[in-house]
Every structure is written in structure tokens, then in C-alpha cells.
Symmetry: C2
Subunit: 389 residues, 2 copies
């Protein structure tokens, strides 16, 4: 990976530069709206939902939402990770020269999982999406890729990675075993490690989600009447993204860092301590290891060192994620993985968040961008998810 | 409904005029592409798939597809039907004056079903989608709507229709019972009947799908390199739509009628005689009644009188529809109803169709528009569908 010392600083201009580099290689994914989901989100929660919580006996908040869903499930390889992977490789090429990168190749490791409900270890599909994104970017740029995955990976995952001509190297199933094999690969081939989130080039690549979203919202609102655009501007009051390793949230926050009117929030699962971002902020120190089997398996990763001090983090329960995901499937008509539903679950169910929107947005309400981060799941996994409830 | 004698003729210019009328009221739905689905569609079928068919022992066709999926599942009310309903009402208003239409109101009937696998009668969600589209259009234009639906309709369907301020009138559960009540409503209120498909105003409204698709493909291809656009033009070689009542297919064929390079095809389910369009063409006479419980419940309707002479109709089995739908869910990441998967099933599995594409497209292949007609189904219905297989 490009040396930290020579990386662009984390500014909106660097996100714009990243976008110029990667835009020939990625999809400009659509932004979807739904009046039904706006109405549901803008309906106060039932008071009974507060039983046993800090809000018991209090009047539910009455926030007003206009939502803009950024559909990164339609991105190449089915997740935003393609942005960071292309940016990391294009930056490597501009720094070392493409011949040097092609000579050495690139490497990362993957949990090798295909199915988010048959997790055979505590790794997550965040890595899986990154490994596939790296394989695609390397294939496109004609760079050798060495992907380390457990020997017990699903056949379809192995075949999927090999479809991009990547070399698959098998390892044991735990993360330390995979990391050890990656070390051997680097020693043997000189391949360059491309980490999944905790690197400026990855963060800037993921930040292009925010840039594209803001541009698209401006296009959508420029001819709108007062019913659809009561504020009369095209400023997003907030953008909310899933938080796993934190590359997407950090990149989005970077892009909006000079736009104080746009608040950037992160959304996590609370199950089994998956809310390491929120807890770390509360304790004043990053939580380096997380061990949760939340259904939002893309978000099991502990937040990275660069990313952990981001503010405004909210966490939701497994049932809330499932309820939000069902609405997104049936009403927005998008096929998404559970991790992608976490921000909308915060909007629907986190009473602290809803109070902020009510207080800050008032009668005009808030225009909120919601990042649907990916869609890498299966019909079988979705059906198992709803069978249990 | 506007008198047939004063309706615009079925020409591309009339579709353009319809588009000018309705475009402030509808979504310009996105067009999605997937290299993975292009590759799967361009892979020859296994010879074993031909066992017991006319193709047994023959070499599978080797067509090359570049697919453009027009996502009408993201349309208002979740289906293309919003286009026809808005056009029908706007035309009525321009013909009779909006005051007269508001005085009389409009009416139609609905099967009242919510769930495509718990059909309690042989009606279909094509009507359900139309009734909801009419309720939305009437609500938007401030016209009273009287929707007749069976008293045993699902609560969510009744609530959904009432959410648009429509008056719900209950009837018995069979179609003749519903039609009888519609007659009473008309007698009592003077309401104007808006049929679901067999009327020029509906056909022209649905035809705007074809117009939008062609425009979007031109935008997508204008800066493409030879890898993505080997033909070097932006002509769609074919558009394939589901065929139920035939409004969508007829409208699309109308729009492309002066573009002989673009072939328009219809796709039907074959189960229990659902392929009435294909059979009618073969027999030389429209088949007026159909009684099928195909999973593609939007396509149970017999093709309408205006629409039935359309050519180029292909039919697929229930299993083929399920296989195509699973690929669209998992790879294209769109949530669709089974009816919407029927055209892609033809592309994947109809060897006659694949031979045409191989012969006409040759090494350059064909650019094919695929209309994903709607997404009105539920997680439960989808899970039941795949539990059976």
C-alpha cells in the first residue's frame, strides 16, 4: 500500500481527486426516494416501544424526514468497497509506476464466507467484499492479485475470486492463520498488502460515495417544488452510513468536513458488543477487538485506528435491523445485505437520533442521505433470517 | 375512460406526447447493467437441458447479450402501471375538463390480493397494481376514486388503497361479482371506468417505458469504449417485456414501431395455459379466457383485444421463472415480483429466442432492453417460492 507519508491529506479536494481517478472504473449508483418510507420514518414511535428504556413514559419524538437512499448495492461487486480498492491500486500505480506494481502484485485476505448466516468463524463479509473488490480492480488494471482465504471457503466464493484471475492461496480458518499466510505471500512474491479500511487511500476512495450523493441530490432537487423541497436548497442535513472498520464513514465525513450544515453519522449493531465505535468514544479509547455474531456481518470489524474518533455514532438491535431491512426490501425494492439496513434502523428506532432531527429540523424537517452499503447476500440467507422471527 | 374515437393514434409521437403529460408525476426509473448477468446469459445452455425437447441432441446456441434492465419496480406504487393510470386521468381531464372529472370520479376493481402465493381466486396482481396506480393518480390530481375489492382482501391492501384517500367498496370475491359492483358504482356516482390495459390511453402511458429506456441507453453508450459498445451505436436490437393484458408490450411496440432495427418481444408463463398470447397467435384467434395459477401472477390476464396480434411471444416454465428471479435478486440486487423475471427467463432458457439472437447478432451480439415490470411482493412470498423447490 502507498506510504502514509506520501498519501493525500484527508480533505474534500482529495476526495474529488480520488473521484477523478476512479470514476471511469466504477458505477455512478442511483439515488432512490420513497414517499412511503419518508412517511413511515416521520411517524412517531409507539410509546410501548419505550418500555424498559430511558424513554419510558416520555412523548415520542416527531421528526420529519426526506430520505435519499444511495444504492451502493448496485456498485461493482455489489458493495462500495470497489471504490476504495480501485483508488488504492490507481494511487499505487501513480506512486510506484504501473510496471513495478504489475511486477510485485497485490495481496489481501478474505474470510471466504459466502453466506452471512452460516458463519463458521467470527470474520465478516466486510473482508470478503474487500477481497473481491481488490480482485476486480487488479484484474481490470492487469495486476496480479494473491487472495488468501481459508481452505474451507465456499466453492462459489473461491470460484468468484478466481473468475477475476486472482491467485487463491488457502490458509487455516482463523484470522491469525490467514495473516500469517499473507506474510509468506509477501515474502515470496514481493506483493503489496492492500488493507480493507484503515488507510487514507481506501478512505478517500470510499468518500466518493458522499461526493456522488451530494451531486445527485442537487440534481434531484434543482427543479423541485416546495412540496418536495420545503427548504428550497439542496443541502443534506445529514448523511448516515454503516460503521464497521470505518473507511466509509471516515471518507464520507472527510468529504463533508467543510460543509458544517451536513452532519455525518455512523450506524452500528449493538449485539454482543458490535457497537465498538460508540463504546470507544464513550470510554475515550478505541476498542481494538470485537467478537460479535451480529447479522450485520459486514460491521463485525473493530473500527480502525485512523477512523475511531469519528463522532455521532448510534447502535441498533438485531430485531431493529431485520425490521428495517424488510421495509427496504419490500418498499424500496432493493436487495441488500443486513449491514446495509443498519442506518435506516437508526432512523426508525433510535429515539436519541430522532430527537436530534426533531430539534434541529423542526417543521421543515431534515433531508437525510442513507448509504445502502452493499447487497452481497442470498435468497436462502434472507429466508433464514426471517424464519427465526 | 376517454372515448376510443377521440384517442390519439398509436404512434411514437403519441407516446412522446404521453410522456410530456405524465413526466412530472412519475419516476424516471434507473437502467441497471451487470457484467455477471451478461456473462451468464451469453453462456450456452447445457445440452442436458434439452432432454425431451425439440432441441435434444442439438448444439446449444451461442448468443451474445449486453443487457439493460429497466427497473420499473422502482416506479411509483412499485410497478409501471403508474404510467398508464396517470396518462389515462390526465387525458380524461383534457377531454372532459378537470371539473367534470372531479365531479364524477373514477373507478376500477382490484383483486385485493397482497400476497402472490396465497391467491384465493384466479385474479392477479396486474389488477391490484392498476387499482393502486389509479388510486395514486386520482389522489395526486384530486379526483375521487372508487375502488371495488373483495371483502376478504388483506388488511394491508385495504389500508394501502385508503392511504390514497380512495373510497373502498367491498364485493364478493369473484371477478363477475366485482364487475357487478363496479356497475352499481357507476350508476350511483357517474364515475368513469378506467380499465387496466385494453385502452389506447393506457397503452400509450405504458409505452413511455420504451421511450425512457431508449433515451437512457443512448446516454449510457455515448461515451463508451469498444469493449462496452462493440457495435459503436446506441440502437437496442431488442426490447423484451412481460405480457399479461398486453398494455406494456403494445405500448413498447408502438414506441419502436418506426425503428425497424429494434425488435420488441413479449414474455409469458406457460404454466396451465398462461401462454395465451403465444397460443392465440398460433391459432389465429385471441384466447379470451385464461385460468392459470402461475407464480407470475401479474401475467394471468388474457391478452386484451387491442393487443393480442402482437408478434414475437415466448413462454417459460415456473422453474425457469424462479431461476431467473433468483439471479435478478442476488446478482442485480433488485427486489422484484415473479412476473418481472419472465423476460429474463426467456433470455436464459428459450432456445428459439437464443437462436434468433445468435443468428441476427452474430459476433457483435445484441443490446437487449429487459423490462423489470414491478416489485410488489413480500419477503414471506419470496421465501415460500424457494422453499418449494
Amino acid at each position: 500500500m502507498a506510504d502514509h507519508n506520501t498519501c493525500p491529506v484527508l480533505t474534500p479536494d482529495s476526495v474529488r481527486a480520488a473521484y477523478s481517478l476512479i470514476s471511469p472504473y466504477i458505477h455512478r449508483t442511483p439515488v432512490l426516494r420513497s414517499k412511503t418510507l419518508d412517511r413511515i420514518a416521520s411517524t412517531p414511535q409507539e410509546e410501548s416501544a419505550f418500555k424498559g428504556t430511558a424513554f419510558e413514559g416520555q412523548k415520542p419524538a416527531t421528526p420529519i424526514f426526506r430520505l435519499y437512499f444511495k444504492c451502493e448495492n448496485f456498485q461493482k461487486i455489489g458493495a462500495f468497497k470497489a471504490r476504495g480498492a480501485f483508488h488504492a491500486l490507481l494511487r499505487l500505480c501513480s506512486e510506484l509506476g504501473i510496471d513495478e506494481v504489475r511486477k510485485r502484485g497485490v495481496t489481501t485476505h478474505s474470510s471466504g464466507k459466502q453466506d452471512n448466516l452460516l458463519a463458521w468463524d467470527k470474520s465478516n463479509n466486510s473482508e470478503g467484499n474487500h477481497a473481491q473488490a481488490l480482485a476486480l480492480a487488479a484484474f481490470t488494471l492487469n495486476i496480479p492479485a494473491h487472495i488468501v482465504m481459508p481452505s474451507i471457503s465456499t466453492k462459489s466464493k473461491i470460484a468468484g475470486t478466481r473468475a477475476y484471475n486472482a491467485r487463491v492461496i488457502f490458509s487455516g480458518s482463523t484470522e491469525p492463520e490467514r495473516v500469517a499466510i499473507v506474510g509468506e505471500v509477501i515474502k515470496e512474491t514481493g506483493a503489496i498488502l492492500v488493507p480493507p479500511y484503515d488507510h487514507p487511500d481506501i478512505i478517500l476512495g470510499q468518500g466518493t460515495v458522499g461526493l456522488e450523493l451530494q451531486t445527485q441530490v442537487e440534481d434531484l432537487l434543482k427543479d423541485s417544488d416546495t412540496e418536495n423541497n420545503p427548504k428550497g436548497d439542496s443541502v443534506l442535513n445529514a448523511v448516515i452510513t454503516p460503521l464497521g472498520g470505518g473507511g466509509l464513514l471516515a471518507g464520507t465525513a472527510t468529504y463533508f468536513s467543510t460543509k458544517p450544515s451536513t452532519n455525518v453519522f455512523g450506524a452500528e449493531p449493538s449485539f454482543e458488543g458490535g457497537d465498538d465505535g460508540r463504546r470507544g468514544l464513550a470510554y475515550g479509547s478505541r476498542i481494538p477487538t470485537v467478537s460479535t455474531l451480529t447479522i450485520a456481518d459486514g460491521l463485525r470489524t473493530p473500527v480502525g485506528e485512523i477512523n475511531w474518533t469519528l463522532g455521532g455514532i448510534f447502535a441498533v438491535t438485531e430485531q431493529q435491523i431485520k425490521d428495517a431491512m424488510k421495509l427496504l426490501l419490500e418498499r424500496l425494492k432493493v436487495f441488500i445485505e443486513p449491514s446495509a439496513a443498519v442506518p435506516f434502523a437508526v432512523i426508525l428506532f433510535d429515539e436519541d437520533f430522532r430527537r436530534i432531527v426533531m430539534k434541529e429540523g423542526g417543521k421543515g424537517g431534515w433531508d437525510v442521505g442513507v448509504v445502502l452499503s452493499g447487497g452481497n447476500t442470498t435468497v436462502e440467507a434472507v429466508c433464514r433470517l426471517y424464519k427465526e422471527s
